[in-house]
């Protein structure tokens, strides 16, 4: 292969990973939330708040890392509101989550108004001498921004936490049956608070990735439905971390692939090509979740139900 082809392949792989990373982050956060039995449909809202938070932080300090931290805090602030409403006041999780999305989209538009059209400092790429220069995968694996590395670490970390630590076991137990967990003396509400805040932080970071790495600028509604895709990924991945990784990258690959196909002008209607990433992800994930027994074991049985401890 010529050098030009290699560079093209590298570039395509990189755009795929850039498209996949925000989905991955938001989905792994929501996975932890749902494993604790809480359904937070406000991912889209938390994500877009993370995007504006990250952008403002970066503009004010000039430092994209501080920006990312501010984005995380914005996501957590919104998730805290959700937690207070659904966990302490036991409101309906579905309605509250939907309201959270609407609130996030509106609020980010309002506070982001002065920042429209300003240009940002893209988060720098961290190269690892030697490894980055490997052919094809070098830049994909070892020449990316910090948020990419965090996203991969989070997948591994969450899988380890859920299935290898006592706290992860308790979290899964709560998601399965909060009444029993409470009877055993496990702190249901506190654990759920922490899970929801973790979900908010991840969604915030996903948003910050959009405004600091993907397209380093602020536009209103720039999350563009990615929060909803992340939510669907969690379900189709049957609440298993490594399937989220597979699903997010598959989605990223097909979305980039169909863009190239549209640019090449092959004779398939563009509407169909635009729908392709969704179709492909759903089909593949439905196929891998065919084992109903395994799916049942992994589905949090108390998902979306409010828990009110005995008096």
């Amino acid at each position: 292969m010529s050098d030009a082809t290699l560079i093209l392949i590298q570039a395509v792989l990189l755009t795929i990973s850039t498209a996949a990373t925000p989905l991955l982050l938001a989905a792994i956060g929501e996975l932890v939330v749902e494993r604790s039995g809480v359904l937070n449909l406000g991912v889209e809202g938390m994500m877009v708040m993370g995007a504006i938070g990250g952008f403002i932080g970066m503009i004010v300090t000039g430092n994209p890392y501080i920006g990312a931290v501010v984005g995380v805090l914005f996501g957590m602030a919104l998730s805290l509101l959700f937690a207070v409403l659904t966990l302490t006041l036991a409101t309906n999780q579905v309605a509250t989550g939907l309201a959270l999305t609407i609130l996030g989209l509106g609020l980010s538009g309002l506070i982001g108004e002065p920042y429209v059209g300003r240009s940002a400092v893209r988060m720098p790429v961290l190269n690892i001498p030697g490894l980055t220069d490997l052919p094809i995968i070098g830049r994909l694996l070892f020449g990316q921004d910090l948020i990419f590395y965090i996203s991969i670490a989070l997948i591994v970390g969450v899988a380890w936490f859920l299935f290898r630590t006592p706290s992860g076991l308790k979290l899964r137990a709560i998601g399965d049956n909060p009444q029993s967990a409470h009877a055993l003396g496990i702190k249901v509400i506190r654990t759920r608070y922490l899970a929801v805040l973790f979900g908010g932080a991840c969604a915030g970071l996903a948003g910050a990735h959009l405004s600091l790495v993907y397209t380093p600028q602020w536009t209103e509604n720039m999350s563009a439905g990615r929060g909803w895709i992340a939510l669907a990924l969690v379900v189709f991945a049957s609440w298993r971390p490594f399937r989220i990784l597979a699903g997010a990258y598959l989605f990223g690959a097909v979305s980039i692939g169909q863009l190239h196909a549209q640019a090449l002008g092959i004779g398939i209607p563009s509407q169909f090509l635009s729908a392709l990433p969704y179709l492909a992800t759903v089909i593949v994930l439905v196929l891998i979740s065919q084992n109903r027994r395994l799916t049942l074991i992994n589905t949090p049985a108390s998902l979306g139900k409010s828990f009110v401890p005995d008096r």
Binding site: P166, R172, Q179, A181, G185, R293, I297, P300, R311
Partner: protein, 511 residues
Amino acid sequence: MISTGPEPLLTLKGLTKSFGTFKANDAVDLEIFPGEIHALLGENGAGKSTFVKMLYGALQPDAGEMIWRGKAVTIPNPAYARQLGIGMVFQHFSLFEALTVAENVAVALPGDTPLKKVAADLEAVSREYGLPLKAGAHVHDLSVGERQRIEIVRCLLGHPDLVIMDEPTSVLTPQEVDDLFTVLRQLASEGKAILYISHKLEEVRALCERATILRQGKIVGTCIPREETAASIAKMMVGADIHQIRPSKARSQSAQPVLSIRGLSMDSREVFGTRLKDVNLDLYPGEIVGIAGIAGNGQSELFDVISGERLAGRPEQVMLFGHPAGHEDISARRARGAVFISEERLGHATVPTLSLSENVILTRYRVNPGLKSGLFLNRGLAKSLLGTIVEKLDVRKSAEDPAAQSLSGGNLQKFIIGREVLEDPKLIIVNQPTWGVDAGSAARIRQTLVDLAESGAAILVISQDLDELFEFTDRLAAIAEGQLSAFEPVAETNRNAIGLKMSGAFSGVPA
């Protein structure tokens, strides 16, 4: 042990707990000694669960004193109760179906015990007490008896001095009950105290040294169960004599069965459901026939096919009054004069949030044309039918026409039975008629069924309560893993024989 300076392990003085204006526990006193098996008896709603939750730290008392090993204590949470040495085996198992046996145990242990060590400890304890368990199995693949073993082993791994058992035998076969009693006696001989909560009097008489009886939140007496009869203890529990069921007279079997099922095999709709295997049965007018079995052995699948909630493979597999009815829906079968009383009272037999009169309309409007006038409902008639039901079965309710979910278990079941028998049905299929129902209501329900059989109705009772089945059925079979044993006249069989069949110990194709 007790003779050498009887120092109580746990003393409770004046324990009181109110929910709003309702006093669930009113100044309860109790002493438990090491090495004794102490029964706490009471009807449903007598306050046993509230009392136990306070001992285990899941509820806080409003007033009263707890003295553990001579020191006053307050128990703020279950973890602290376990730390003191109080272990609990729950009635509705507090297990996590999606987790493995070892994970279920580990989740209740303090600190960061590695899962491998938990699994090893678990298997050691299960060997020591003869409670076989596999650490890696998922809970939802296990039988109820095995699930209870997990609860017991989990409790024992905390090295408790006091073990609280809340209605442990309600879901076990007689053989499993015997095994459980062996374990409990072994624990008591090691000096552990056991607080045994139950309303099964024969068991308490066989197992317990002392009994304390709770009624409407108050202690009404203590006794030595071996020196009492079941009737005398029941009288203390209920506060009145339990009305004995009149045995039904010998009935002649007519040639034509009201219900017959032939060669019915069927997969379950549920992922973890039971497959029915070649079920055959005949039910004649005027008889009460029982099917015994541990929950989850195909009872609900069988009920669904008979009621028409699921259609049979071929119409002639379910014959109602001589007609092939396997492909008819529920309303058509009701119109033939059959009624179906589901095990699940809220959400299946009734709509929890609808009023009682509306629930009357839901199952009767196709049978009683008066309930509809043109496009509209005749609510007046529904209310008067409700009045008849309430009077006939003595349903106690808080308002004139309350929501179904506001009734207690026993009163709701009386309402459901009363509603279904309004038009003197010719065929009654009832699943778990008195599960979780207090003794007074249960007697009333059974009497209603016996009276109907005497007037010529055919009745099929599916139940896991052997006492009940032996009390009022004429013929009996057991169901195990979707297979139905041959029916035998009740007079010619006994509890042990049926118990064995409930665990699947019968061979060949049932008659």
